[in-house]
């Protein structure tokens, strides 16, 4: 369980995370989704106690990360695949982390084998490909067999086989009852991996829902109908089992009825229509739409704050 409550984080005058609140539950792969610069990495750093929020608090299993002793047994994280000393071997890197957390030394070769790095374990990490570094980062996250795992853009640099491997790994970890938070800027990737989504844009929460619902709300075909008799039309459609949402420009968004049925019902009631069209937003479009809205609705008057030391 990861709880993020009302976190705000500024770097100088730039607002990275803005009053963000969400909860990540065990037993699911939760996708942490947002465009580049949305505040995903900042949020993960706050959860891991690396950055101090200006307001709010994040807890893992009910405790602030900074208070954990030997935290790898409870929380594992892949933050940045490059975050390894290039002159050291994968083996030395993991042994050092294991030492600090009282993890038995047998675990290191086992994990290196599990992530497919056993052949290069003694080689310097500086010569690794990005995909190999990602695998090393994943091994580091798994080192203490933690119940909570955070991965920041783990798919970057993995080949298709690696992506499939990672997806299966994440899902099996979640099936074991662990709490998995995986950040990505690719909705298409998350749609295949995550069963829950936390979506942010410009540091603010846009959606916290199941992947199914997010896709349904954003991309399932809906019908947009415009009529001077919108209220009457809406009543008729709701009577026939449709879900109606009033759009800003006065049109109605209709789901739950096929388009020909909507046209027929309007004609039968003698209601004049000015527009009737199917609206097929793709996943990415829905995502862009949602995050673009987040930008628009952002408070336009940010108070300047004194430059703070980073």
């Amino acid at each position: 369980m990861i709880e993020v409550s009302d976190i705000t984080k500024r770097y100088g005058t730039a607002l990275a995370v803005d009053a963000l609140t969400f909860t990540v539950r065990p037993g699911h792969v939760t996708g942490f989704l947002g465009p580049n610069g949305a505040g995903k990495s900042t949020t993960l750093r706050v959860i891991l106690g690396l950055d101090r929020p200006d307001r709010g608090e994040a807890t893992v299993a009910g405790r602030r990360f900074g208070t954990l002793i030997r935290p790898l047994h409870e929380v594992g994280a892949l933050l940045d695949a490059g975050a390894v000393h290039p002159g050291r071997s994968a083996d030395a890197h993991l042994r050092s982390l294991a030492r600090a957390n009282r993890i038995g030394p047998r675990r290191v070769p086992d994990l290196l084998e599990q992530v497919g790095l056993e052949q290069v374990a003694k080689r310097r990490v500086g010569g690794y490909s990005l995909g190999m570094k990602q695998r090393l980062g994943i091994a580091a996250a798994l080192l203490g067999d933690p119940a909570v795992l955070l991965f920041d853009e783990p798919v970057n640099g993995l080949d298709p086989e690696g992506v499939r491997w990672l997806r299966e790994l994440l899902q099996s970890l979640a099936a074991e009852g662990r709490t998995i938070l995986v950040s990505s800027h690719l909705l298409s990737e998350m749609a295949q991996t995550a069963d829950r989504l936390v979506v942010i844009g410009r540091g603010r929460l846009i959606a916290d829902t199941t992947t199914g619902e997010f896709i349904a709300s954003g991309s399932a075909s809906r019908i947009v109908v415009r009529s001077p008799y919108a209220g009457e039309l809406a009543r008729i459609l709701i009577d026939r089992g449709a879900d109606i949402e009033a759009l800003d420009d006065g049109a109605l968004a209709v789901t739950g009825l096929p388009i020909d049925r909507v046209g027929h019902l309007a004609a039968a009631a003698g209601l004049e229509l000015h527009e009737l069209r199917g609206d097929h937003a793709s996943l990415e479009e829905a995502f862009m739409q949602l995050t673009a809205d987040a930008v628009e609705y952002r408070s336009p008057h940010e108070e300047p704050v004194p430059a703070k030391e980073r």
């Binding site: 950055d51 940045d80 000393h85 002159g87 030492r99 009282r102 993890i103 038995g104 675990r107």
Partner: protein, 274 residues
């Protein structure tokens, strides 16, 4: 939650002392798994002993041609340790790299995500680099002394390890190298940038003494006596400068340097983002 499948050997949980020992072991693993560690320690030994030997040899060669005044002003003890004036930069840079390399590679975030107790991480690093540089420094200083004094033999002013002040001077040199290594670590943690921290260290131990000594009296000694280089000079000279601090005070001030800077570094680590 995840207790159902546990392949991890959780060694017996232990007290804070065992915990800190684990941190030291973790830092030792990193320290030993880096080539620059060996290069730096080897360079310290070679430069420290080698330059001291060259100084001894050169002095022995010039000795017959020196005036009595020049002979009288020659300090056969402090000249033994000339090589460590360069050696201190090598070991100091190793101290800097101990933490600055973690910032430049991003490893520091992995480290702090595995050990959120940042000040303890710094202290564990201090123990590893401090103890290593003390042992290697003492050994190199001792070897440098023996080689250099042997080469000074023909001058007739050479010293043995049982001569007055010889042993304390050798011991102080090793200690001084450990102090400089710790200053490097502290500067690395404060500045978080390898070249910046190395330049700061270079300025403190190399440039500043020259600049201060050029100040008009009495400011040259009033300020100069507090600089690490001059403090060390008091400890390794047969005839300490009477305008500077006493040997005992010099030792205390010298040891206070890493304490103060590491405290500042720990404070900065605790309050700023990683």
């Amino acid at each position: 939650m995840a207790a159902t499948i546990t392949t991890v050997t959780r060694l017996t949980a232990a007290g804070p002392l065992a915990w800190f020992r684990d941190l030291i072991r973790a830092e030792t693993v990193k320290f030993r798994a880096t080539r620059s560690t060996y290069y730096a320690l080897l360079a310290l030994v070679v430069v420290g002993i080698g330059v001291s030997a060259l100084v001894g040899q050169a002095m022995a060669a010039r000795w017959p041609h020196l005036s009595p005044l020049n002979r009288a002003s020659f300090d056969p003890l402090s000249s033994t340790f000339r090589g460590f004036e360069i050696g201190q930069l090598i070991i100091g840079s190793l101290g800097v790299l101990m933490i600055s390399s973690e910032y430049s590679s991003g490893l520091i975030r992995t480290t702090f995500a595995a050990i959120p107790q940042r000040r303890s991480v710094l202290m564990a690093k201090a123990v590893v680099i401090g103890v290593t540089s003390l042992i290697v420094g003492e050994a190199a200083a001792f070897a440098g002394f023996l080689v250099s004094q042997d080469l000074l033999g023909p001058t007739g002013v050479s010293l043995s390890i049982s001569s007055p002040h010889a042993l304390p001077a050798v011991a102080s040199t090793g200690l001084y190298l450990a102090v400089i290594a710790l200053l490097g670590l502290a500067l690395g943690a404060l500045i978080r940038h390898t070249p910046g921290a190395v330049v700061a260290l270079f300025a403190l131990v190399f440039v500043l003494p020259g600049v201060i000594s050029a100040l008009p009296a009495p400011w040259d000694t009033r300020i100069g006596k507090w600089l690490p280089d001059n403090l060390a000079g008091q400890l390794v000279s047969l005839a300490p400068n009477p305008d500077y601090l006493s040997r005992t005070s010099s030792l205390i001030v010298l040891l206070a340097y890493p304490v103060v800077l590491l405290t500042a570094a720990a404070w900065r680590l605790g309050r700023s983002d990683a």
